[in-house]
Symmetry: D3
Subunit: 131 residues, 6 copies
Amino acid sequence: MSPPKPIEYREASPAVRAVFDDIKTSRKLEDVNNFWKYLANDPTTLKRTWDSVKEVMAPGALDPLTKEMIYLAVSVSNGCGYCIASHTAAARKAGMTEAMFGEVMAVTGMANETNRLANGYRVPIDPAFDR
Amino acid sequence: MSPPKPIEYREASPAVRAVFDDIKTSRKLEDVNNFWKYLANDPTTLKRTWDSVKEVMAPGALDPLTKEMIYLAVSVSNGCGYCIASHTAAARKAGMTEAMFGEVMAVTGMANETNRLANGYRVPIDPAFDR
Amino acid sequence: MSPPKPIEYREASPAVRAVFDDIKTSRKLEDVNNFWKYLANDPTTLKRTWDSVKEVMAPGALDPLTKEMIYLAVSVSNGCGYCIASHTAAARKAGMTEAMFGEVMAVTGMANETNRLANGYRVPIDPAFDR
Amino acid sequence: MSPPKPIEYREASPAVRAVFDDIKTSRKLEDVNNFWKYLANDPTTLKRTWDSVKEVMAPGALDPLTKEMIYLAVSVSNGCGYCIASHTAAARKAGMTEAMFGEVMAVTGMANETNRLANGYRVPIDPAFDR
Amino acid sequence: MSPPKPIEYREASPAVRAVFDDIKTSRKLEDVNNFWKYLANDPTTLKRTWDSVKEVMAPGALDPLTKEMIYLAVSVSNGCGYCIASHTAAARKAGMTEAMFGEVMAVTGMANETNRLANGYRVPIDPAFDR
Amino acid sequence: MSPPKPIEYREASPAVRAVFDDIKTSRKLEDVNNFWKYLANDPTTLKRTWDSVKEVMAPGALDPLTKEMIYLAVSVSNGCGYCIASHTAAARKAGMTEAMFGEVMAVTGMANETNRLANGYRVPIDPAFDR
C-alpha cells in the first residue's frame, strides 16, 4: 500500500544506470533529480521519457531557455508543484532572470484569464485566422 | 436565451470605441478581433482586459515573440479553441516559423505528459530546488 | 464506430421515460435537453445523475440563481462548450441579467489568472487561513 | 476562519453513522477514510456521494480493478493529491501490480501529451469516427 | 536557484508600499496576505493584479459574497491549494455559512461531473440555447 | 496565417512515409488518421510520438482494451474533442461494448466530482495510504 519509492543509483539495474549516466552526462549533474529516480520504478517509461525529453529540449529552432520557460508556463497552468519547482530551477540555470520569471508568470496568468473569457463569451474564430 | 453577440464599431458606445481605437492603433489592425467585440458587451471588462493585455504583452525582459509562444502553449494546454487560433496567428505575425511552432507544440505536449508522471509517482521536490 | 445518439421519448424504455417525465415536470419543459437524451443510453447513469442534479440544484442555503452562476463559472473554467451554453441559458432563466453574466465572467477570468500566479510564485498558505 | 475538520464516528449524527457503517461494511474497513470524515460536514453530500460511488464502482461490465485504474488515471490527470494517494491504494487492494501501475501512468502521460498535440494542430475529426 | 521569497512591508519599495497600503485600507487588514507579498517581487504585476481584483470584486450586479463563492468554486475546480484556503477564508468573512460552503462544494462537484459526461457523450448544443 | 494542414501520403517525404507505413501495418489500416497527417508537419514529433504510442499501447501487464479505456477517460477529463472521438472508436475496435462505454463515462464523471470535493474540503492524506 506504500507510495512509489525512489530508486538510487547504487541499487539500480544496469538498464536504469545507463539512463541515469546519460542524464548526468548530458545535464552535467552529480546526481539525477527525484523525477528520474521515481520513474526508474518502470525502466521502460524511464528510458522513453528521458529520450523524449532529451530530444524535445535540445536546441533547435528555439533555444533551451525559451523551451524551459514554455515548460514552466505549462506546469504553472496545470498546477504541478514538482514541475513548477524543477522547471523554475532549470529555467534559471538556462539564464532566466528575475524579470523574465515575472513576465512568464504575467503572460501565463493573462492567458489563463482570457482563455476563460473566450470560453464564456463563446467567441467564434475570426475567418482571418483560418486564411 | 440567445448567446452573446459581437458589438461592432458602428453600434459601440464612445467608451467601447475608445478601446477599439487603441487596439487598432497599437496592433496596426483595420478592425478588432472577435474576442474584443464580444468582451465589448461589458465595457468595464473590455477596458481592463485590454489594458492588462497591452501591458503584459509589451516588450520587456522577454520579446513579443517569446510571449506569444508562451501564450499559445498555455492556450493549447487549456484546450481553448479560439485562443489557439488567435495566438497561433499572433505568434506567426510576431515571427514564429513552422519549425518554431513545431517545437512549441513538442514542448507543450511533453510538459503535459511529465506533469502527470510527476503527479502519479508523487515525486517529492528535491531539496536542491529550494536552496 | 458511430458516436452516441440521443434517445427520444417515443423510443425510450419505461425507466428512461420515468426520468424524462420527472425532468419535464420539475423543470416545466416540453422536452428534455440533449444532455439527458444522450445520458439515456445508460439508464442507470441517467437516473443517478438526474437525482443528484435535482438534489444539488434545489433551493437551500443558496438560491437557484446563485447555484446556476457557480455551475456556469465552473463550466467556463473547464471549457465545456455544451455546459457553457446550457448553464448560461439556465442561469438566465433563473434571473441572471446581462450585468450579472458580465460579472460572473470577470470573476471566473480573474480566479483563473490568480490561481496560476499563486501556483507559479509557490505562495505558502497564510497561518491565519488555518486558524 | 478555520478549515474543514473531520467528523469522527463517536461525534457523528445517526444519519452520518448510518453512512459510515455502510462504507465500513461494504469496504470491509475498520474505519472510513478521511474523505468521508470531511464530507460528513454536509450529511446530504456525504450520503449522495457514497450512494453514487457505491453504484458506480460496483462490478458490472467492468471489473472493480479496471474501474479503480480509470479513477486513478483521471485523478492523476487532474492533479488531485488526495485522490491519487487513495485510489492508488484502492487499486492495489483490488489487484493492481507494480507493472500495471507503471502502465496506467504511461498511458495517462501519453494521453495528456497527445491531447495537447491534437489541440495545438487543430486536428479535425476523421469522418470515419462518426460513421 | 531559490524559490520566490515574500517581500515584507519594511523592505518594500515606495511603489510596493503604496499597493500594500491600499490593500490594507480597502480590506481593513493589518497586514497583506502572502499572495501579495510574493507578487511584490514584480511590482508591475502586483499593481495590475490588485487594481484588477479590486475592480472585479467590488459590489456591482453581484454582491461580494456571491463573487467570493464563485472565486472559491473556480479555485476548487482548478485545484489551487493556496486559493482554496484564501478564498474559503474570504467567503466566510463575507458571510458564507457552513451550509453555504457545503452547497458551493456540491454544485462545484456536480458541475465537474456533468462537464465530463457532456464531453464523453459528445452532446450537441440544443438549438433552443442559441435562440 | 493559415492553420496547420494535413500531409497526405502522396506528398509526404520518405521519413514521413516510413512512419505512415508502420502505422498502417501495425494498426491494419488503409490510411492513417488525421492526427498523424497533421503531426507530419513536424517529422521529428511524428516519429517520436508514434514510437511512444506504439510502445505504450502494446499489450503488457494491461490488455489493449483497458489501455484504450484509460486513454478515453483521460481525454474526456481533459475535454479534447478529437481524442474523445478517436479513442472512443479505438476502444470500440478493441472490444468496448456500449455497457463498458457507459461505465467508463460514469467512473470518469465520478472521479472528476470527488477530485473537487477532496480539493474543496482540503482532505489530508490518510497515514494508511503512505504505509
